[in-house]
Amino acid sequence: MDTEAKVGIVLVSHSAALAQGTAELAGQIGGGSVPIATAGGTDDDGIGTSIAKVERALRLADAGAGVLILPDLGSSVLTVRALLAEAADLPEPLAVADAPFVEGAVAATVTAAAGGDIAAVLKAAQEARHARKL
């Protein structure tokens, strides 16, 4: 299982710093073997999202096993959907997770590190909604 390509993770955030910090945290907890790419902020690095950044991150995170996209807030989803509607030759399979950003990123990364496929990684991210921290 360890020799196979890992599912990649793309973190889409309105804030470059938020995406970067979440990637760093998830990468450390997951042991560093999962490709995690970020698409944070607008093209001129303001607060917002960028189709071009999401597309670049998808290609960076693709190791051959597919990519899970985690949007931070609902309007990031619009950017992701716009890209998926217009772009060609994106990595396959792709999935978009409806999940809390930090917990979803950590759970997805750990499951990908363990060799989970795209369905398992998506499920781990979405189950994060039910995890209690207190």
Binding site: Q28, I29, G31, V110, A131, R132, K133
Partner: protein, 90 residues
């Protein structure tokens, strides 16, 4: 015939995020079902968020339970991670 195995360890440090991740990744490598039990709470060992949600701290006893063909190996591996990781408090 699936076996089952159980072992306990007393934490010498709090159970933080990185060892929780290491436990979940290791647990997923076994076919046995594994869980961590701390007091009245338990978590699937494959769930990093579940493990962190236990809030296990130094001095508490953690029981690892496994059921499945490689239960013994799974318990040994998870106890080793707990012993190594919490000893240095990471």
């Amino acid at each position: 015939m699936p076996g089952s195995c159980e072992a306990a360890i007393t934490l010498t440090g709090d159970l933080h995020a990185r060892p929780a991740g290491a436990l979940a990744v290791a647990a997923a490598g076994f076919s046995a079902a594994t869980e961590l039990v701390v007091g009245a709470h338990k978590a699937d060992a494959r769930s990093v968020l579940g493990i962190m949600g236990l809030g296990a701290t130094s001095g508490q006893q953690v029981i690892i339970r496994a059921a499945g063909p490689d239960a013994t190996e799974a318990v040994t591996a998870l106890i080793d991670i707990l012993a190594g990781a919490t000893a240095v408090g990471t």
